[in-house]
Amino acid sequence: MKKLRLVMVGNGMAGVRTLEELLKIAPDLYDVTIFGAEPHPNYNRILLSPVLAGEQTVDQIVLNPLSWYAEHGITLHLGQKVVAIDRTRRVVTAQDGNGGPGGQIQAEYDRLLIATGSNPFILPVPGKTLQGVIAYRDIADTQTMIDAATRYRHAVVIGGGLLGLEAANGLAKRGMHVTVVHIMPWLMERQLDDVAGKLLQKSLEERGLKFLIGAQTESLLGHDSGPDAGRVRAVRFLDGTEVPADLVVMAAGIRPNTDLALKIGLHCANEGRGGIVVTDTLQTVTDPRIYAVGECAAHRGIAYGLVAPLFEQGKVCATHLAQFGIGRYTGSQTSTKLKVTGIDLFSAGNFSGGAGTEEIVLSDPYAGVYKKLVIRDDKLIGACLYGDTVDGSWYFKLLRDGRSISDIRDKLMFGESNIGDVGHEGHGKAAAMADSDEVCGCNGVNKGAICKAIKDKGLFTLEEVRKQTKASASCGSCTGLVEQLLMFTAGGDYSKAPARKAMCGCTDVSHQEAREGIRKDKLLTIDSVYRTMGWRTPNGCASCRPAINYYLLSSWPKEAKDDPQSRYINERSHANIQKDGSYSVIPRMWGGETTADELRRIADAVDKYKIPTVKVTGGQRIDLLGVKKEDLVNVWKDIGMPSGHAYAKALRTVKTCVGSEWCRFGTQDSTQMGKDLERALWRMYAPHKVKLAVSGCPRNCAEAGIKDVGVIGVDSGWEIYVAGNGGIKTEVAQFFCKLKTPEEVLEYSGAFLQLYREEGWYLERTVHYVNRVGLDVVKKKILEDHEGRKALWARLQFSLDGEPDPWFDFDKASVDTRQFTAVANAGVPS
């Protein structure tokens, strides 16, 4: 069959990214032809500023070398400007950019992708066509500036926005005297508030830049005679003053490049100034064969100028070009970072505040630090940081997630590291780290390795860095650092911004949607979930299948059937796999109490099965490490104690102190309370592991403050704390309520855990669940809605009633005992 023909107009980051995504999912669908007006292969436009500043070279910022195009059989026409498109005959005509004899090239298309990017806005003032007056947009402009810096002295940059300041900084670093002309009352007014804008100005002035704030350009004056005739010599302002200028850089904003689109009759917003209007599938509204992505496209009224949204558009567009017809682009939130070495600046969202908003401000002008957080309805809606941007990506995440910050409000300003963080030696500033410093403590990845991967492999997103380097792919606590490294190394902000995130690559369905669908349609099998919700893979993957299995079991207890092949090995073999392929066995000790008999049986099993290590765990139990898989069943039998579920996303342990029975300070019988809780809750599977603790007095020897449910006995009853954990990020449990009787403790704790079981996303711990929905909501459902609480508690008891102990009741627990032996002994003498 003849291949379809795809023609792309524009050879920039958004377009080529779309192609890359397309080639990943449908490598053979199209014959691809690209027309690029510039003579270069696709390069990272964001890194022009470091090139101008002499920190990187043009070669270093190339993203797709010419060999990439050849490798994928792409016909590439560089230096060719598309001058006409016949939409009826579906033919693109291009003209040699140099007007040379090359003449015209034509290409026919079945699908057309317009990715023409944007044009700089040139002030309509007299003299704008003089020599030495340029915009700042591409490699040629950058080269012109670099050349000018070697021959001339005075530069004027018109526009004190992001691009203008980066240009000014680069020119100054190359030795020019630079004046920045800015018509607005402070610098970067679209990204910064007045205080931060003025701090920025001061800091740039210290580096030798001059500023004319509020000045309005009247005209550009040229040399009338001499060797520089026809070249600019000065800028004149409305008030009549002049400043000398051998080079004028226009950086007063960009406009979507819609010349071609207008010419061929595609609907554009605002007479072309607003971009080519596209739908959520990135198709132009005028012609369904034509797609547009990137800075030239107007999606829901917005033409994005930052790279993260453009890449999201590219991904969606690619699935439609591939005829998958899935995915919609629904818009992005963006953040800004200035790429001027040594100046830390970050802003996102609504940082100017306004009616109905509250502000938290930290201002230390002497140290050059200013931070403003804007809050509305207990949610962070904007942030503007100057001087200390370590927590930029964290704030951005809070902002995108839209989570309530009421619980961390008092610590919000002091950043993520103030709410507990381990695993990377307390490093907060990625830039200050040495290449050999470890960023990801889980996978042993240092800063140098991450930066090298970002540069060498052209990585742009957190996901890509995780895949390539494993950094932040395990516990995720160093995510902020990795995001910073992405910003420094690749430029711009690359964090993805989906408000709802697909569960995995198998589907576009989010965890929440999967949960809701299973409940609404009463789905009982994994297959029916995959069919009903349109999974792209026949039987999911190692990430989504365990999640769906859990959702089915927790939504429809006693009806949905457990599928052991959709469980992680630990929950399939009911033991914890170790690095050498052996297993560990942790029997249950109710409330951390044991007996001489139990200890004797454990000791005998250790001898009999030659178990190499016996260790006391943090959860007041005994861990037998290095058990061979074929011995598991016999070890369980010989020990004769219940499964401790130490291998499962389930109730693990209830840690207790000795309490009033022995302790001279004890006010309540915490050991008995712990035993009762453990007996009521064991065999309880949950989105993640669940740990409890009960202390008999506020000295809290059982460390109840860092447990999913912590109970602390006081003279008049019991205090309940929820949603704490040790681990990656130490999260202190929050006070939930105070109760009188042990029966109430059981009911309230059980109801809270059942709510988590029903609403939590797979692998979400209680703290993340509570943060996501808000502690107030949880309190309302448990503390105020008495019927609801009792119903939750009843549903939990129903779920757990008659549940088997997987160490003994193999059939009922769906334990496939065949796994414990080899299926055959090939050539082994028997």
Binding site: P538, Q565, S566, K579, G581, S582, G827
Partner: protein, 118 residues
């Protein structure tokens, strides 16, 4: 003499699951059964850090290693990009619901690799 040696019935392997085959020398061989009833055999060692692939989650025609979640293609034993590595592959024949492996391969392939505890 045919080198094919009978291993087990197809139904001895759980769907989307795996069983282990012990050998006279060298690490065990993992045999996998996919949802479409194809059977594949790989050395039971992940090319990454030697994890037992037989204990992983099978999906599509791949298995996820239980230790660090590398995805290994069942057909050729190769790790999915961006990871690099390859584990030994064994020929499989399924005939009338019976699974056979090649006796010569079982006796000789990847036998000098250090055995890890099962």
């Amino acid at each position: 003499m045919s080198p094919w040696t009978f291993i087990c019935k197809l139904d001895d392997i759980p769907v989307l699951g795996s069983r282990r085959v012990a050998r006279a020398a060298g690490p065990e061989v993992a045999i996998f059964r996919t949802a479409d009833d194809r059977v594949f055999a790989l050395l039971d060692r992940c090319p990454h850090q030697g994890g037992p692939l037989s204990q992983g989650i099978v999906f599509g025609h791949s298995v996820a290693c239980p230790l660090h979640n590398w995805t290994i293609a069942l057909a050729d034993g190769k790790a999915q990009a961006p990871d690099h590595g390859c584990t030994a592959r064994f020929a499989v024949r399924v005939d009338a619901g019976a699974v056979f492996l090649d006796a010569d391969e079982l006796a000789t392939r990847a036998t000098n690799i250090e055995t890890v505890a099962p």
